[in-house]
C-alpha cells in the first residue's frame, strides 16, 4: 500500500514538474491527456460504478465546450464566471436529459442517449448562425484568473504553463471527487445498483434518484472537461456531439478498464498516444489503430488496468 502511495506521489511530482522538462508541444499533450482523462473518468461514474452505458456522453462534453466558447467570446474573460456558467449549463442539461433518458433501461437507454447526442449534433451543424455550424467557433480567447492577471507571467492562462496547471488542478480535483465517491455510502449504493438494481429497490434505496445524481455528477464533470478542451484549442466544433466522440470515450474507458479508478486514465493515455504517434509514422494509421483495438480486446479483456491487476495478483501469489 505504501509502495503504491509512493508511486502515486512520484507521479504527482512528475506532473507538477512537467513544464520544466518538456519542450515544444509536449506539455500541451500532457494537458490534453489530463483533460481527456477527466472526460473518461466522468463517464466511468456511469459505466463502471452505476453500470449504465451511455452512448451520448459527448453531449455534455460538447455543451460545456460551447458554453465556455460563448462566455469567452461574448460575455467576459473571467475564468470563474465561465466555470460557473459551464457547471450550471452541464448540470442543468444532465438533470433534464438524465431524467428522461433514465426512464428507460438497457439497450433503450443506450439508444436514447445516442439519439440525444445526435440531435445536438444536427442542431449544432444546422443552426450555423449561432453555433458556427461545421466550421465551429474559432478565435476563442483564453480566460483570465482576474482582470489583469495576464500581465503577471506565472498567473497567465494565455501561455502553455499557466493553463497546464489549471488543467492539472482540475484533474486532481476531479480525481479526488471520484476517489471519495468510490469510498462513500453513495458510491457503495452505486455499485449495488450496478450489481442488482431490483434488490436495491426492494431494500428501500431511491434507485431512480441515485441514478440521476450519478448522471448529473457525470455530466457536469464532462462539461468541465469539454470547456477545458475548447479553451486549450481556442476552438469549439460540433463533432463533440457526434456519436463517434461518445464511442471513443467509451473505448478509452474500456481500454483502461472500467473497474478501477485509474483505468480511464490509462485508457486515455493509450488512446491519445495511439492517435498522435501512429499518425506521425504512417498515413495508414487507421489500419494500425484498428489492429491495436482488436488486439487489446482479444488479449486484455478487462482492460489494461485489469490486466495489470491480475498480473499483480499472480505475482503476489507466486
Amino acid at each position: 500500500m505504501t509502495r503504491k502511495r509512493a508511486a502515486l506521489l512520484a507521479g504527482l511530482l512528475l506532473l507538477i514538474a512537467a513544464p520544466w522538462f518538456t519542450t515544444g508541444t509536449q506539455n500541451d499533450f500532457i494537458g490534453d491527456i489530463l483533460i481527456y482523462s477527466l472526460f473518461a473518468l466522468s463517464l466511468n461514474i456511469l459505466i463502471g460504478q452505476l453500470g449504465l452505458l451511455s452512448f451520448g456522453h459527448g453531449t455534455f462534453y460538447g455543451l460545456g465546450g460551447y458554453a465556455a466558447a460563448f462566455m469567452l467570446l461574448k460575455a467576459s474573460h473571467s475564468l470563474w464566471f465561465m466555470f460557473a456558467v459551464v457547471i450550471a449549463v452541464s448540470a442543468l442539461a444532465s438533470l433534464v436529459i438524465g431524467y428522461f433518458a433514465l426512464l428507460s433501461r438497457g439497450m433503450a437507454f443506450v439508444m436514447i442517449t445516442m439519439a440525444i447526442s445526435q440531435l445536438f449534433y444536427i442542431v449544432a451543424v444546422t443552426a450555423y448562425k449561432i453555433t458556427g455550424g461545421v466550421d465551429g467557433l474559432t478565435s476563442i480567447p483564453r480566460p483570465e484568473l482576474f482582470p489583469g492577471s495576464d500581465e503577471i507571467q506565472w498567473l497567465s492562462l494565455s501561455g502553455t504553463t499557466g493553463f497546464y496547471y489549471l488543467c492539472l488542478v482540475i484533474f486532481l480535483l476531479g480525481l479526488g471527487i471520484l476517489y471519495r465517491l468510490r469510498r462513500s455510502p453513495l458510491g457503495a449504493a452505486f455499485e449495488g445498483i450496478r450489481e442488482n438494481e431490483e434488490r436495491m429497490r426492494s431494500v428501500g434505496y431511491p434507485v431512480a434518484r441515485y441514478k440521476l445524481i450519478g448522471f448529473v455528477l457525470s455530466g457536469t464533470l464532462a462539461g468541465i472537461a469539454g470547456a477545458l478542451s475548447v479553451i486549450q484549442l481556442g476552438f469549439a466544433g460540433p463533432t463533440a456531439f457526434f456519436w463517434t466522440t461518445s464511442g471513443e470515450v467509451i473505448l478509452a474507458v474500456v481500454i483502461g478498464g472500467a473497474s478501477t479508478l485509474f483505468g480511464p486514465v490509462i485508457g486515455s493515455v493509450v488512446f491519445l498516444s495511439l492517435f498522435r504517434f501512429i499518425g506521425q509514422y504512417t498515413e495508414h494509421w487507421r489500419l494500425f489503430v484498428g489492429i491495436v483495438f482488436v488486439a487489446l480486446v482479444m488479449f486484455a479483456p478487462g482492460g489494461l488496468g485489469d490486466l495489470w491487476r491480475r498480473r499483480k495478483d499472480r505475482a503476489a501469489q507466486g
Binding site: 507521479g11 484549442l233 463533432t239 485509474f262 506521425q280
Partner: protein, 405 residues
C-alpha cells in the same frame, strides 16, 4: 516486485513523447539549411481523395526545380490532419513549436482554415492554402501570413451567376447543402444572377450529407414548368448521388443543371459517368477547356501519372508549389525577413496552367480568370469545353484589415 500502473503509465507517456520526437528527428534528417514545409492536409478517409493528388502536384512543382530553391533543399513533413479541425490545430502547433517549419501547406477542408488561422497568425508562419474555399480566410480573417492559390467561394460563383442569368435561364431552383460554405456560394451566385434579372423559384437546403434527393426532385418536378435552371452546391459523395438521381428523374430534358466546376469535373466523372453531360460550370480551371502550352504540358504530365486529367484541386496544389519556389528565389533563400516574403508572394509571376495568376497584396487571395464551361465528351472521354471567360476576377476582400508582417 509489483509495478504500479499510474506511475508507469504516466512516465511511459512522457518517455514515449520524448522518444517519438527524438526518433522523428532522426527519421527525417533535415539539415539546418533545409527549408521545411509542414502539411495540414487530410490524406485518409474521404478527403484523402482531394488531399493525395493535390500533394502530388505540389511535389511535382517542386521537382521541376529539382526539389530546391535558391540553393536550399526543400523537405516536407507529411502528416495527416485527419480532416479534423481539433487535430489540425494541434498539428499546426507541433509544426510551429516543435518542428519549426518555414511554411505550412493546407488545408483542404474549409473549416480547418478558420480553426488554424489564429495559430498561424500568432506563430508568424506562412500558410499557403491550396484548396479550402471559405471567403472568410481572405476577408475578415485575413492575415499577412496567409495566401491562397485556389479560389474564394465568391469568385467561383459571381461569374457563373451573371452568365446563367444572361444565357441559360432566369428562373432558378437552388439545391444547396445546409451549411455556411454552401450559403456563401449560393449567395455569391445570387448576387449576380439577380442583378442579371434572375429570380429564385425554389431554394432547397438539404442537410449536410443527405444521400437521397427523391423528395427534393419531386418538389422540383411539381414546378418544372416555372423553372429553367437548377443550381446545386453539395459536397462529398452526395455530389455524385445527386447527379445520378437527377439524371434518373427525367428532368434533364427541360431543366439545365449548373454549378461550380468542381460539382462536375474529373474528380466526379467516374462516379457520375454520362450523367454529367451538359452540366454548366464556372470556376478558375477546367483541364479540357484551356488550350495553352502551359496547361497542355501540365495536363499531359498529370495524365501520365494519374490516368485522368487534373482538376482545379490539383492546379491549386501545383501553383502552390510554383509560388513557393518563386518566393524563395525572390528573397534569395533568406526567410528571416517576413515582410519581404509577403511582398514576394504578391510579386510572384508563375506560369500557371489556369492562365492569369496573381496573389492580391490586399487579401492574399489569388486573382485569376473564371471560366464558364460545359461538360462534353471528346474521344469518348468526359471533359469540358470553354464557353466564356471572365477576366481577372478579384475577390473584394471585404473586412480584411491587414498590416505588414
Amino acid at each position: 516486485m509489483a509495478r504500479i500502473p499510474a506511475f508507469s503509465s504516466r512516465l511511459k507517456s512522457r518517455i514515449l513523447a520524448a522518444g517519438a520526437v527524438a526518433c522523428f528527428g532522426i527519421a527525417t534528417p533535415a539539415l539546418a539549411q533545409d527549408i521545411k514545409i509542414g502539411t495540414v492536409i487530410g490524406f485518409s478517409g474521404l478527403f484523402g481523395a482531394y488531399g493525395n493528388p493535390l500533394f502530388e502536384t505540389f511535389k511535382m512543382a517542386l521537382e521541376e526545380s529539382g526539389g530546391q530553391a535558391a540553393g536550399r533543399k526543400i523537405t516536407i513533413i507529411k502528416e495527416d490532419d485527419k480532416t479534423d479541425p481539433k487535430y489540425a490545430i494541434q498539428l499546426v502547433r507541433r509544426y510551429i513549436q516543435d518542428d519549426k517549419v518555414d511554411f505550412l501547406l493546407g488545408p483542404v477542408y474549409t473549416p480547418i482554415a478558420a480553426a488554424i488561422r489564429d495559430d498561424v497568425h500568432r506563430g508568424k508562419t506562412f500558410l499557403i492554402v491550396p484548396l479550402a474555399g471559405d471567403d472568410g480566410i481572405t476577408r475578415e480573417m485575413c492575415s499577412p501570413y496567409i495566401v491562397r492559390t485556389s479560389f474564394s467561394s465568391w469568385q467561383q460563383n459571381v461569374s457563373l451567376g451573371d452568365y446563367v442569368a444572361k444565357n441559360v435561364g432566369k428562373r432558378a431552383a437552388l439545391v444547396t447543402s445546409n451549411f455556411a460554405a454552401a450559403h456563401q456560394q449560393s449567395a455569391a451566385f445570387l448576387e449576380t444572377f439577380k442583378a442579371g434579372g434572375g429570380e429564385v423559384i425554389l431554394h432547397e437546403r438539404p442537410a449536410l450529407g443527405t444521400a437521397d434527393y427523391a423528395a427534393i426532385l419531386t418538389n422540383i418536378r411539381a414546378r418544372q414548368d416555372s423553372i429553367d435552371v437548377v443550381y446545386a452546391f453539395l459536397i462529398g459523395p452526395p455530389v455524385a448521388a445527386f447527379t445520378n438521381q437527377w439524371a434518373q428523374s427525367g428532368l434533364r430534358e427541360k431543366i439545365k443543371l449548373v454549378g461550380v466546376i468542381p460539382m462536375a469535373d474529373e474528380f466526379w466523372f467516374p462516379g457520375q459517368k454520362d450523367n454529367a453531360l451538359g452540366i454548366i460550370g464556372g470556376g478558375p480551371y477546367a483541364a479540357g477547356a484551356l488550350d495553352t502550352p502551359a496547361n497542355n504540358a501540365f495536363v499531359a504530365r498529370f495524365q501520365r501519372k494519374f490516368n485522368r486529367a487534373p482538376t482545379s484541386t490539383e492546379v491549386g496544389g501545383y501553383d502552390a508549389g510554383k509560388l513557393l519556389i518563386s518566393v524563395i528565389e525572390q528573397v534569395k533563400g533568406n526567410l528571416k525577413d517576413k515582410a519581404a516574403i509577403r511582398r514576394a508572394f504578391s510579386n510572384a509571376e508563375i506560369n500557371s496552367p489556369r492562365g492569369y495568376f496573381k496573389i492580391d497584396p490586399k487579401t492574399g487571395n489569388v486573382i485569376n480568370n473564371i471560366y464558364i464551361t460545359r461538360v462534353v465528351k471528346r474521344n469518348g472521354v468526359l471533359t469540358h469545353e470553354l464557353i466564356q471567360t471572365y477576366e481577372k476576377v478579384r475577390d473584394p476582400g471585404t473586412g480584411c484589415k491587414m498590416s505588414a508582417p
